[in-house]
Symmetry: C2
Subunit: 408 residues, 2 copies
């Protein structure tokens, strides 16, 4: 079956001067993939007529579906509607349904309506209007032979509403499409090239319609299998094989963050957690609490950034620090044990280390404790302060995940 | 003088299936702008030879500088190097400097080196190799008449290293560009449209060759004046005027993060800081400790995420919590005062609040204390968990900065 390709054109100067990070495109791709439409290209252009028209012309060489986002508002730098009118030889007509909606939209919000807001209801006469229940700018859908050109607002939740409510069903009705299945494996503790080396035979035996992609992060590696026109059973078989080969570095068989996995584990087991982190300075607690509902299992943390605070707030023995230094297995273990007690939790994790180059060779000690058992591991971190923080946090969260699994 | 345009081509299936959000392009645009190069288009394509070559051909119609990111690794889905070799009729040669670097890179990390890693040192014979000190894949720079085509790794910190160290100076040497002077003012506590309203007259009197850009962040607003072909004195005059108009919301007259400003203030005054943060869950401590040398003034923090830990670790009075609730002025003030004592610091900041929608209308209390004085302020946060965290952290850091200035 022929692939159906889509190009996304995002419009706005803010995308080109580095002010805005485009999150719309990723979201759109996630919606299109399951219905068998592949985003082939994403193009960002500025608020400039020539650039928008060039993009519109060029992308029709690459894709059957062109989604434009942005530039549908009412201010001077919103060019998308007039340009599309020009492009498709439209005249603007007042759409009564949209006008009524816009009027009641302002009324409901008790905000005065300006003359300029009426313009939202002026739509090209030769397009289909995609009614925008959650905002004032409707989507505009043009059909040109076998091509769909659809303009959507740039505001994420309005764009999302229009895609979910209108765009997906329009596309599904118009085109016959192949199906794609993605499966993601997360691993930790082994570099991309080492994993690739272990997967040479696996990759060789993969059928044509399954692709493997490597997506490295600091201390972690995501592996993604993408199957085209394939059965769940077929891709599952290859995915199982992949999991078996990499069983010793397995983290998850779905695209899920470590802090989320830890949350799921703790909730399942009805257990609690506390954190004592020196060099990571609050970053581990911040990750844990980024998960909605984390107050169910996370009791709190201490950031003992000075030697005094390690002694006064965590009761680390002065003698331990003097005899083994502040970055040592013994200090880390005491930190974890005392953290467990202070917060009265089922698990505790403690970190002490050097994030920047010094005589101590950037050692980080990570200790884990529950009521019966306590263990520590040393890692070395080779990058700058920022990357070393991320690497330490990723490593620590993975060790915590393993500790919870191994010490239920 | 002619504008110099750049197109950024980002390569990787993960960008098109919505797995990865492209943050590289925004960062690159931020670096190119100050040296007078304008990003005209950003194009994302998949790991596919035809698509990459199409993009390479097309973008040369739009820009003089083509930056490619991604696909420079050693695995099978890394296509950029072979495609560029084909495209420029190169043969691969072993680069001894890169080979030595890659070898010592693995040695320093005490990791075995695989045959495949040697491939990183194979480079096209007709390009300039951009030495990558922080990773193993070098950048590749091709010159084609007046066009620069530069391939960079997709890993953000490696890409950033190569742009900062090599790419900016190459571009600066090759092209005559208009000179730009940027001056940035940071403000906090007033929204973009309100500030714009106060600046109507100021904007009207700005000469043609000075532009004002609004760069909003949560709770903060950066204003950037960009002068083209202008003297320092000229732009300084307009910048002073801007500062005067916005004196009441002034944060800084340079592009410097709040946590850095706080660090400078505390070091100057030889004062110390501690943090007690409930709903922000470690994010404030993480910001403070992201600054190199912060252990000179930051003694540590407590993340009392449960009511018990507020009582047991911070000695917040049970009666206070029962009578005024856990999110209240009284609780916040006690947290700040007790934090100050526990860590024996000159300043303490405390946060307690609700990050997500509930009956309490998303209130956050921020309290500040030194030995003589204690004060608290309430803010409300209207977004989702993630954005509310950032907004709270920004607001808290700015209140801390003001408190230090007002209570030396």
């Amino acid at each position: 079956m022929e692939n159906i390709f889509c190009s996304i054109i995002t419009i706005g100067d803010e995308l080109l001067i580095g002010q805005t990070i485009d999150t719309n495109s990723a979201w759109i791709a996630q919606q299109l993939n399951p219905i068998g439409v592949q985003v082939k290209r994403r193009v960002a252009v500025g608020d400039n007529k020539e650039d928008i028209i060039n993009a519109l012309n060029e992308e029709q060489n690459h894709a059957k579906i062109i989604l434009l986002t942005g530039g549908l508002g009412t201010t001077n730098d919103d060019l998308t509607k007039p340009i599309l009118c020009d492009y498709f030889g439209s005249t603007l007509v007042m759409n009564e349904a949209v006008l009524q909606h816009v009027t009641s939209f302002f009324k409901r919000r008790k905000r005065p309506m300006l003359a300029i807001n009426n313009n939202q209801a002026l739509v090209p006469n030769n397009c289909e209007v995609l009614f925008n229940e959650v905002g004032t700018a409707p989507g505009l859908l043009f059909e040109k032979d076998d091509t769909l050109i659809i303009a959507l607002p740039g505001v994420p939740f309005e764009m999302q509403y229009l895609v979910s409510t209108h765009v997906l069903s329009k596309i599904s009705k118009k085109y016959r499409r192949p199906t794609f299945i993605h499966r993601t494996l997360i691993t930790a503790g082994e570099g991309e090239s080492f994993v690739a080396n272990r997967l040479i035979d696996f990759e060789r035996t993969l059928p044509e319609n399954i692709k493997l992609a490597y997506l490295p992060k600091l201390g972690m590696l995501k592996l993604r299998l993408t199957g085209t026109e394939i059965s769940e059973t077929d891709i599952e078989q290859h995915f199982s094989e992949l999991k078996n080969i990499l069983a010793n570095i397995f983290v998850a068989d779905q695209d899920i963050e470590l802090e989320e996995q830890i949350g799921i584990l703790l909730k399942e087991k009805n257990k609690t957690l506390s954190v004592a982190e020196s060099c990571t300075g609050g970053n581990i607690a911040a990750k844990i609490t980024s998960i909605k509902g984390s107050s169910l299992y996370f009791k709190g943390g201490i950031v003992p950034y000075s030697i005094e605070s390690k002694q006064n707030l965590l009761n680390v023995n002065e003698h331990t620090i003097e005899s083994t230094s502040v970055v040592s297995e013994a200090t880390a273990l005491e930190m974890a044990q005392n953290c467990l007690q202070k917060f009265n939790t089922d698990y505790a994790i403690a970190i002490t280390g050097y994030l920047e180059k010094n005589d101590h060779d950037n050692q980080i000690w990570i200790a884990l404790a529950n009521k019966n058992f306590c263990t520590a591991k040393m890692i070395t971190v080779p990058y700058d302060r920022e990357k070393n923080t991320v690497l330490t946090v990723n490593s620590a969260l993975n060790l915590l995940r393993l500790f919870i699994l191994e010490n239920p």
